[in-house]
């Protein structure tokens, strides 16, 4: 069961959180939900649902992002 949570805007940190499904950068408010015992950050409950219904069936538990990218020709 997830919940709406609030992070902080920091001008001292370069790394910013992103939605675990879509990759959209999170400003402050996010939907936090536990997936396989790990808290994940989502834009919304809808994106948590899609993470289960779309993402996991296609890509399993691999983390997505550059790791998934090809090296190109």
């Amino acid at each position: 069961m997830g919940a709406w949570k609030a992070g902080e805007i920091s001008y001292l940190k370069a790394n910013r959180a992103a939605c675990a499904l879509c990759g959209h950068p999170i400003a402050i408010r996010y939907w936090g939900a536990e997936v396989e015992g790990v808290e994940q950050t989502f834009c919304s409950p809808e994106h948590e649902r899609l993470y289960h219904d779309y993402w996991l069936p296609r890509y399993g538990e691999q983390s997505h992002g550059a790791k998934e990218a090809s090296d190109g020709p």
């Binding site: 990759g23 402050i28 408010r29 779309y54 550059a66 090809s70 190109g72 020709p73």
Partner: protein, 570 residues
Amino acid sequence: MTTTTTFDPVSLTMVDNYLTSCCRDMGVTMMTTAYSPIFNESLDFSCVIFDPEGNMLAQAEFCPSQIGTIKFTVAWTIEELGLEAFEEGDVVLHNDPYRGSGHVPEHMLLKPVFWEGRIVAFVANVAHMSEVGAKTPGGLSGDATEVYQEGLLLPPVKIKRRGDDVDDVWKIILSNHRTPRVTLGDFRAMMGSLDMAERRLHTLIGDYGLDFFLATSGELMAIAERRMRAEIEAIPDGTYTFTDAIEDDGITDRAYPIELSLTIGGGEVIADFTGSAPQAVGPVNAIYAVTASAIYNAFLHLTDPTIPRNEGCYRPFTIIAPPGTIVNCSFPAPVAGGNTETSPRITDMVFGALQDAIPERVAASCGGTSSPFLFGGTDPRTDEPYAHFHFEGVGWGGRRGLDGNNMVVTINGNCRNTPVEVFETRYPAFRIDSYRLVPDSGGPGEFRGGLGGERIFTVTVPEVTVSALLNRMKTEPWGVLGGGEGAVGGLWVRRAGIGEWRTFVEEFGTMSPSKFSGVTLRTGDQVKILMPGGGGYGDPARRDPAAVRRDVEEGFVSEEAARTVYGSEG
């Protein structure tokens, strides 16, 4: 107990048209009062009205690549500052790509609209400033390796507080831009546009009441969502894929593939870019908002143009763009060309993916580059610095029933090029020697791709600094459903007194022939820009022979191509 409000269609249409025309007038205000040709001529801006939660209520049909970016920029701004931070008369400025903006030159201004002491809407515009304090004049440095080289980054900051200029912030901006007088003039045009929109909203609410405004604008978003979902439901369910690439990044000579998987079903679209290349070293990276914007743009082309253009249009879409890739790069990667080059590539890819599903609606690839050619220096007539971002058009892809447009600025921009007369009178740097369509540059097809063009100009001042960030110089714009490829573009220089055209790689040692910055040209040097054509639609053998004859008569297709490609008997 629940209550149901019934909206009459006349009122809904009136409010939708009122808000949209208000956004259009915002643009006209900017076009007519700004100092830069990128506002006056190229119209590289967008104008939008939002509700207090950051939902888009209306927009005008200016620059499609900014549709998504302004949505994300405004949402970030409201979230970061908080509604309680806004006071009547405030104006907030924001251009930071890693906080939702598109790329550094695009500056968003946001103004709250108050009614009886509460915020009832926001009016906003986003515009491409022609000078932003980047490593070279005009920004868009084709060989930048960090966003810091692309200009002054401004997170959400107030430039007006309760109607008064915040002088400290203005000092920072104007001392970082090479052309402060022009920057100030363009910002004043943007602020005038916001003031006009604020007055219009006050008139609407004063005439019809706040409850009416809030209720109808909410219902318009619901209508747009229902209609967009219905349009998507008309596309056969399934997963459609397409791959294309950005041909180099200005720093390394390698291509960056983009992988798109579109899953359509239940009135929704999932656009998944998993598998796309890692982010580039050079400035061809898109940030999330740009990628989302390109998807929205594609579907606005494919669906009913009468759907109200508001937040509801975008609700059926989920865009999955893995962080650290060319479609959602991570800080501090350079991003200038994501908005001008990668964005049109993504929009075209949607058409490529759906060519078999909805062949009656898609188009072949357009020339796919905004053709940014930037220059700056000091005007010898006034001793004042100048900088300019020059667009060129490209051929657009053929589509069922129509050939592609000739030499129109690429699909993400809806912008216009700088007319020759303006180019020559506003800037002392160049004389235009020729400007023409290029025969046979449109991809062959039952419906031919639009023609690319060629512009040659001569340097007329002792020294001018030029930069470029062009694509489709190596890989052709593709056709669909049997159509052929459009011609690639090119960029060359001919030094004064030397007879041959050479690439910038050959003459100046740039890594890329079309992405570089800070090259100095001198009096008598010439530049030739060749813009790509569009891809063709359908088998060229099916082209109407009369259309082929007309193409030959108009010089669009050579007699040889008519014979060998189209089988014309003459």
